[in-house]
């Protein structure tokens, strides 16, 4: 039964796809662009593959017809019988048909093939990659492992310098975001704010979330604050771009945690005649502050990684050190020893900051007494905190 559904759904899907691909491939629109026609050829290819697979599957299905009929008879016979029948052990519950799920998977496969064709990748380049990876990794490891002489010391110190500038950018950015996000989060929390403020605030926040940070950096803060190394303002532009784009996510998370707050203290403070500000200060903030601090620290970790891409655009930090115009990857042949040292510094500093901030977060949320729990206790207790997709 479920086989029938599978075959039918796959057949219908394949025919539809093949028809669509054929129409689109030979339509005049396909000639307008390379990318588009490549994608359409990919779609046709994928649809062809699906059709072949289905043909094989359908032939196999048709070939086992007699066997299935015998099976069905046997099951029907054992069905009516009373008492113990060994064949009834075969009567497992029938799987529900998953028509749309199968269709979605097929569509996903076709989408994958067509977009892989659309990107125009030359996959043959992958064949030469392992030899180069081996060669360059050896040079990089050699660069990290050698006893530093004068030049190499220069590499180490410039890498540390740029990486610490990245950390500084991320810190200032997080601070800017944090300063604005607490009031915005309060104004975007439904249980503290009237609808007239809540709706515009939500709208503004979702607009900020939709704008990528490179747009903030290129369009607003690089003209305003300068471009290039720190003393010419690139670092500040990066920090402010990160800060403004953190406001959206931070405020959303903070408002969610405010909405989940325990109602008791709010009612108590309202009953004792507190003003709105007093209620926020004494009933809301003490409850959400640990979580808010944790959210801010998450964002700090994220901002360190994000500052690299802004550096490539001309805002300072580690991205400026590595990216092409005048960075390490600027002119060939690349100085692989310096690149290895820089990557080592990036990994080391990022992991160190992650560890420190993870420790602080754990300390802020769970307090001094709770240490890392063993596995048995962790299984007994409810899961601590759900992972936060939006924060990353």
């Amino acid at each position: 039964m479920s086989h029938g559904h599978k075959v039918a759904s796959a057949l219908v899907g394949a025919v539809l796809l093949a028809a669509g691909a054929f129409l689109l491939t030979y339509s005049p629109a396909a000639n307008a662009s390379d990318v588009f026609s490549r994608m359409m050829w990919g779609t046709a290819l994928a649809a062809g593959a699906v059709t072949v697979a289905l043909a094989v599957y359908g032939l196999a299905y048709a070939g086992t017809g007699r066997q299935r009929a015998a099976e069905r008879r046997r099951l029907a016979a054992s069905h009516g019988r009373q008492g113990y029948a060994p064949d009834r052990l075969d009567l497992r519950p029938i799987r529900p048909a998953k028509f749309w799920w199968n269709m979605a998977l097929i569509m996903l496969g076709v989408l994958f093939v067509s977009s892989a064709a659309g990107t125009g990748m030359t996959l043959s380049a992958l064949l030469e990659m392992p030899a180069r990876v081996w060669d360059f990794s050896g040079q990089m490891i050699g660069g990290v492992a050698q006893i530093p002489d004068e030049d190499v010391r220069g590499d180490w110190s410039s890498a540390f310098d740029a990486m610490l500038e990245s950390v500084a950018i991320a810190w200032i950015g997080t601070l800017v975001g944090a300063l604005f996000s607490l009031p915005c989060g309060i104004l975007a929390a439904r249980n503290l704010t009237p609808l007239g403020t809540y709706i515009p605030m939500r709208f503004i926040l979702s607009v900020i979330r939709a704008v990528p940070e490179i747009v903030f950096a290129v369009a607003i803060f690089i003209p305003l604050l300068g471009v290039g190394p720190a003393e010419r303002g690139g670092a500040m532009a990066g920090a402010f771009a990160l800060g403004i784009s953190s406001i959206g996510t931070l405020s959303k998370l903070i408002s969610e945690s405010i909405e989940g707050v325990d109602q008791g203290p709010l009612e108590a403070s309202r009953a004792s005649g507190a003003t709105h500000m007093q209620m926020i200060r004494w009933a809301v903030l003490p409850q959400v502050l640990p979580e808010v601090l944790a959210i801010w620290l998450y964002r700090f970790e994220v901002n360190i990684r994000a500052s690299a891409i802004l550096g490539a655009l001309g805002a300072g930090g580690i991205g400026r050190l590595i990216s092409p115009p005048n960075g390490l990857f600027g002119q060939r042949p690349y100085d692989w020893e310096a690149i290895g040292i820089t990557l080592f510094v990036i990994i080391a500093v990022t992991m160190a900051v992650d560890q420190i901030s993870g420790f602080v977060r754990h300390r802020v949320i769970h307090g001094k007494t709770v240490r890392r729990r063993t596995r048995k206790q962790a299984e007994a207790a409810p899961p601590p905190e759900p992972p936060r997709a939006v924060a990353l």
Binding site: E128, R132, V152, P324
Partner: protein, 359 residues
């Protein structure tokens, strides 16, 4: 009744209401003095290398890592936060946190020349080409975006957008599947043994700590192209690594937190590891996997637009070319940026819709 009240002997005068409350305890003095010493030490360190004194940093080289300016300002801010914490009766640990925040902020702010740049903003706004730039960004040239070709080729600009979307799709699908596999291996719940899970976690944190620009440049070099003018392969590989890091981390945490019931049932029924992961772990994390995949797809659109800046295919490459010739006008860059906002907004809405349908 009133007589009884008036006859009650008054032994002592009642204090004014509100003044008889016990005063909240003051924090201990000794830790605060220690904090003041700490602040003084930090300030004296900053004063010591006021003028960019080279600081010996590791045995690896001496470098001008800390060039804080206006150290007296820093000292003032540190003392201010300590006094504030004392007046608000914050516990010493909290005051230490506040002091740490002030010290790091002072260091970071002076490292990126915060005050100088802020002071310069009004002058930049009124003079120079900043005005033209901002005006250009807000008057984008849409005909460039819709009808022109990439300079020197016959490829239209909107085709570059299609390439960017294609790169994001391919990278999301491959990266999410590898990420799922690694998350299975990284979580002690579903992994082979503790050693595997620790190793995979370590590898994953290394993968995650290299930024996506770094991956793109590395792969461009590994593939043998120059950083500029390479096909989409480097960008796709870089995005795949970027996605693996995110999905493996988030999904590993979800796998850690799944309900142990189905796992025990699978174990009791004698399932092998693969069967156990297939029937007990995978269905439990499937909703979060789909949600993370959609989230990663949104991230990929933004990242692939930005990755072009280091010279790969897609709209990012065009963006960096236009930034390079920005002296001829800002309308083209403005158009690309506005279109980027629109595309990201549409992808957000699409993924919100899919998420509502599926979950």
């Amino acid at each position: 009744m009133s007589a009884a009240l008036s006859e009650r002997p008054v032994t002592e005068p009642r204090p004014e209401p509100g003044t008889d409350r016990p005063s909240p305890p003051k924090p201990a003095l000794a830790p605060y003095l220690g904090l003041v010493l700490l602040a003084a030490a930090a300030a004296s360190f900053f004063i010591w290398n006021w003028e960019g004194q080279a600081v010996l940093f590791l045995p690896l080289g001496d470098t001008v890592l800390w060039a804080p300016r206006d150290p007296l300002l820093g000292l003032g801010a540190m003392m201010l936060i300590l006094v504030l914490c004392w007046r608000l009766r914050v516990s010493p640990m909290g005051a230490f946190g506040g002091l740490a925040i002030v010290v790091i902020t002072y260091w970071a702010g002076s490292n990126i020349h915060f005050i100088d740049r802020i002071a310069e903003v009004p002058r930049r706004l009124t003079g120079g080409n900043t005005r033209d730039q901002l005006v250009g960004y807000f008057n984008p040239d849409w005909s460039y975006l819709l009808f022109q070709n990439v300079a020197g080729t016959s490829r239209p600009i909107w085709g570059e957008w299609l390439i960017t979307l294609c790169m994001a799709v391919v990278a999301t699908i491959i990266g999410c599947f590898i990420g799922l596999l690694l998350a299975m291996l990284a979580s002690p719940v579903s992994s082979l043994n503790t050693g595997t899970s620790q190793t995979v976690k370590a590898i994953n944190s290394v993968v995650r700590s290299i930024p996506d620009v770094g991956w793109a440049l590395l792969f461009a070099a590994f593939l043998g192209g120059t950083a500029y003018g390479l096909g989409a392969l480097a960008a796709v590989l870089a995005l795949i690594m970027f996605n693996i890091g995110i999905v493996a981390k988030l999904l590993g945490e979800s796998i850690d937190a799944i309900h142990p019931g189905p796992l025990e049932a699978a174990d009791a029924a004698g399932a092998t590891l693969v069967q156990r992961d297939r029937v007990a772990v995978l269905p439990a994390v499937m909703p979060s996997f789909i949600s993370y995949s959609l989230y990663v797809f949104e991230l990929n659109i933004r990242a692939s637009a930005a990755l072009g800046v280091v010279g790969v295919a897609g709209i990012g490459g065009e963006l960096s070319r236009q930034i390079g010739r920005m002296s001829q006008g800002y309308e083209n860059v403005g158009a690309i940026l506005w279109a980027l906002v629109l595309v990201v907004l549409m992808v957000d809405l699409l993924s919100l819709w899919i998420r509502r349908r599926l979950l």
